[in-house]
Amino acid sequence: MSDKTGKTEQNRLSVFKTYKLYVGGKFPRSESGRVYEVTDSQGNWLANAPLSSRKDARDAVVAARKAFGGWSGATAYNRGQVLYRVAEMLEGRRGQFVHEVADAEGLSKSKAAAQVDAAIDRWVWYAGWTDKIAQVVGGGNPVAGPYFNLSSPEPTGVVAVLAPQESSFLGLVSVIAPVIATGNTAVVVASERSPLPALSLGEVLATSDVPGGVVNVLSGRTAEIAAPLAAHQDVNAIDLAGADEILAKELEIAAADNLKRVLRPQPVDDWSATPGIDRMTAFLETKTVWHPTGSLGASGSAY
């Protein structure tokens, strides 16, 4: 019996996975129909990934814009629950991600597992921040007048995120999670050389209560996709983590046209270190409101 089973397994045809983009809650192929070969660190073929075009970038921005109202309007508590759900779903597919990260980055199984665990813990960490960030960076301001003066952080809008090139999963999570935790929506350009963990993350997001369009994942040549995103008039901010020095400069110039918020690439030696709140505050805008107190009564300024 066992002999027979062994034989059938040997004869079984391989079932290869077709990696697809994640845009607007759906899994389209690239509009251009192009793919490119993704290899492991030794140069062995792993899969074909979609080679996105500028039109895929445009479609992703439309999807992200459409999702922004609902996501930014959701309560911070609700966003935290949703992000925690992402961590739960990731935990269930841990084996798959360990495998993909090991292939992509040439790590041993145990080191890859450590990366994936750190990434899952990072989702949980940012999930906790969603309803606390406002207390840390917002607040009531003391002013010399009969007013309340309140500052509250608000999401910037659609953020283009160029994922780090080297850390294909922990780095990726570390740039996506802070963007969406604060209520922004994201168009993510996956690591050019190792996009597979990012494309699989799309599948996780699709099954974990994150509304379609909140995160959109594109794979392909970073420079090709990033240029139209940086120049796009309906993108509010761009995280250049995955751009090299020359590309970052070009993109920053293109982004200046509609006054995008730009997060310049910062060297990160160890993605597993505690990230701090900088990546969250980078894509928050502080809204300050003045509100007259009732103490003046009818006799005071009516303003």
């Binding site: 814009r65 796009h232 309906d234």
Partner: protein, 330 residues
């Protein structure tokens, strides 16, 4: 195709004496009208949809795209038909129709603004001095369920207030129950009430159930003297589609070949993107021909379409994708 009708109706055609065109006798009575409309060839639904879909695959790029976008802008009937329309909203719409993109004065004006009859005077004042026309829906739009006297009064009021064009709805109930002559006479009466205003006849294709009915309605409308035939009100689930617009374009082409009278076409409702609009222009060019590629003969009934056309126009001019922050919200 039209030679077949000509043969079938040769007797009727030769009978005509003082008729405005060759097919006038088809509407001599309810029975001749039914015989004519039911004698029209049946529509090959699969073939029609395949043809419309294949014409939608044309790739229109660079200078041709720029031309198509400007042409499409000039064909838009910028429409607001809401219960919540205010004079302020209509004035804003008029200003947008005259200068769709205030940051770029080379943008052509739209063809018309389309409003309810009580807003005609406001709209007329808002577009005064420009080439933009004022169209008004009338005849108890969108249902058309009102006595003829009320419908005619609706039309007369709109014309008196200065409407250049009237968009009427046909009585779908009468059409579907086979009372073609009733529909015909109603269109004739409305046409008369229009005076100098051009008459667009709305069939509400989404309620006509079959392509055969859309073809029959198109011929019925044209026989009755419509200046334009229009797909829909925009108030039902199925509005303008490439297939039903293609069918109507074939009808106006055949009608002109047979009678020498040119009739315009206006798809309305559901056309939201530049890509869709350009597909319709391809249909026009390939079916009716270049003579219809002008806002006197082809219109888009739309509101949100204009913003997408403007964003695409900005993209072509600057090379950067534009966004909804750079066009007006209406």
């Amino acid at each position: 195709m039209y030679t077949r009708y000509a043969r079938r109706y040769a007797r009727l055609v030769t009978m005509s004496t003082a008729a405005p065109h060759a097919l006038a006798d088809a509407a001599a009575s309810d029975s001749t009208l039914r015989r004519f409309l039911h004698g029209l060839p049946g529509v090959d639904a699969v073939g029609l949809e395949a043809r419309a879909a294949s014409l939608g695959t044309r790739s229109i790029k660079t200078t041709a795209k720029a031309y198509a976008i400007d042409l499409a802008i000039s064909m838009v009937d910028l429409t607001t038909l809401e219960g919540a329309d205010t004079p302020g909203k209509v004035r804003a719409l008029g200003a947008k129709a005259v200068h769709p993109d205030p940051t770029d004065r080379t943008t052509p004006a739209t063809a018309a603004v389309c409003v309810y009859p009580d807003m005609v005077a406001t709209a007329k004042a808002a577009v005064a001095g420009s080439s933009v026309k004022v169209a008004s829906v009338a005849t108890a739009f969108p249902a058309g369920r009102a006595p003829l006297s009320v419908k005619l009064a609706d039309v007369r009021e709109a014309v008196a207030a200065g409407a250049d064009e009237i968009d009427m709805v046909i009585d779908r109930g009468a059409f579907l129950s086979g009372h073609y002559l009733k529909v015909y006479e109603e269109i004739v009466a409305v046409k008369e009430a229009c005076g100098a205003a051009r008459l667009k006849v709305i069939f509400e294709t989404g309620e006509l159930s079959t392509y055969d009915n859309i073809r029959r309605a198109s011929w019925l409308g044209m026989l009755a003297g419509a200046d334009f035939i229009k797909t829909s009100t925009g108030k039902v689930a199925v509005n303008a589609t490439p297939a039903n617009t293609l069918l109507m374009l074939e009808a106006v082409r055949d009608f002109r070949a047979q009678t020498g009278v040119q009739v315009g076409v206006k798809p309305a409702g559901g056309i939201r993107t530049s890509k869709d609009a350009i597909k319709f222009l391809v249909l026009v060019n390939e079916t009716a021909g270049e003579d219809w590629l002008d806002n006197h003969w082809f219109r888009f009934g739309a509101s949100s379409l204009l913003n997408d056309l403007l964003m695409q126009r900005q993209k072509l001019a600057t090379g950067r994708y534009s966004g909804p922050d750079y066009v007006t919200v209406d």
